[in-house]
Symmetry: C2
Subunit: 269 residues, 2 copies
């Protein structure tokens, strides 16, 4: 795979931002217009966002395999694919539809279909265009400045974000974590929340609903790893061997450091 | 009391935004520099923000009684006070210190020290300067456009925000609400979250920690009432008789409508 994917990913994310800007908070944005390849409902805003990426890739004549929640696995362009592009075009669809200002688009590039081989990653805020980036071995950045996690190592001093939606059966599991944390947030865009851990705005992000898809976190995972943060399944297993082209679902904890990860994991019921 | 307070409040909020912009997400912003009148720690960013308002009011020669978490009740200017100004200069201090992009400043104007007499209110987003406003009897607006709550009337279709920080003893009370809601958020700036209910971005906001202060919600309460939303104590009592100059603490539920309020209140343990 040739290098330099970061600028391609950034351009693609900027296309998404431009395409969906007029839709944020509008009634039509939330209309269900089909079933995604992952089995979820596809909303109008998701479709518009994904189309922006497909058209950009097509226009740029980049033969690739696009992996996304909406389309599944799709070859684009002529000839041998140069890259796997792993896309979550709107991360935080509910926020986007309602007009809550915390939404991102997430794109990763990999030469193979293995999670651990992702080489470049972009998570862009769709409100102000601020962009988290990483290249394998090159560290992580926000708007071109190096980022790193916080040095908070105990939960009772931590600001954490916990997913609490659409999974009543899992609320009880996280209650001890909610009680022990200093401050609890739930912001509604997992990729952006993981990036907030990477850059020290949050100390941890917890989603134990077994609902995260590969497409949601391929980019954010490289970003937090390159920032020297921790991202693991709650049992401590790494995500490395997850296949990008299988729309697997799992749970994870992202944390500023191992001490905080361990404390959160041990409190889960 | 003379009318036209809205432009004064907007100008004061804009001064806060200008003053704290360079501090957001910085280490110094979170340094504890004293004890507030309400008994909480005052952080550097709170002090800078409040000073911006005091200086603006002073410069504008508006004799007033300023009521705030940091200073308590304070007379400013010469002669008979024209107005009570109820100020929460940074609502979402943790977000501001950490650089999480959901922060507001909140100012209300009242001719008396009774909550129900508040005549004008401003809640300004400190990221982009977007501003929620209301004048008694004149409806509520966001950036000069009329706002109204959503028409979601059942919790299992609702996007709600629930305060979960710093109150382990109250987590269990809200667990049934968390389980029943469609989507749960916790965004970290109560005044801004109440305004999100007023304008339909959220369907309800729940804080049963008995930690909300009059100063936090004097402005947001007028805004949601003028938008025809509901804001009550969990037992259904109105906030009307709360005294602005007493730094009382209480719980509340803001909701798009009575049906949703009732459903949430009945689920609290």
């Amino acid at each position: 795979m040739r290098g330099g994917w970061l600028s391609v990913l950034k351009d693609a994310a900027a296309e998404v931002r431009r395409a969906i800007k007029p839709l944020i908070g509008s009634r039509e944005s939330g209309e269900v217009v089909g079933l995604g390849a992952g089995g979820g409902f596809s909303k109008y805003i998701d479709i518009v966002a994904e189309r922006a990426v497909v058209e950009y890739v097509d226009r740029s004549s980049i033969p690739c395999v696009l992996v996304s929640e909406e389309s599944g696995v799709k070859r684009i362009g002529e000839g041998e694919p140069e890259v796997y592009l792993i896309l979550d075009s709107v991360d935080g669809t509910t926020n986007a539809v309602r007009g809550i200002n915390f939404i991102s688009t997430s794109i990763a590039a990999s030469p193979t279909d293995k999670f651990n081989d992702v080489e470049a990653a972009v998570v862009m805020r769709l409100d102000d265009g601020g962009v988290y980036t990483a290249e394998k071995g090159g560290g992580a950045k926000y708007n071109d400045a190096d980022i790193q996690p916080s040095d908070v190592r105990v939960l009772n001093k931590a600001v954490i974000s916990v997913e609490l939606s659409r999974s009543p059966g899992n609320i009880d599991r996280v209650v001890p974590v909610l009680k022990e944390a200093k401050s609890v947030r739930s912001l509604g865009s997992g990729a952006l929340e993981i990036c907030h851990v990477a850059s020290g705005q949050l100390d941890a992000y917890v989603d134990v609903r077994r609902m995260i898809r590969t497409t949601d976190i391929a980019a954010a995972t490289l970003i937090i790893k390159e920032a020297s943060g921790v991202i693991l399944k709650p049992n401590g297993e790494p995500l490395d061997n997850v296949q990008l082209t299988r729309l697997e679902r799992f749970s994870l904890i992202a944390a500023a450091n191992t001490e905080l990860f361990n404390q959160i994991a041990s409190l889960l019921r």
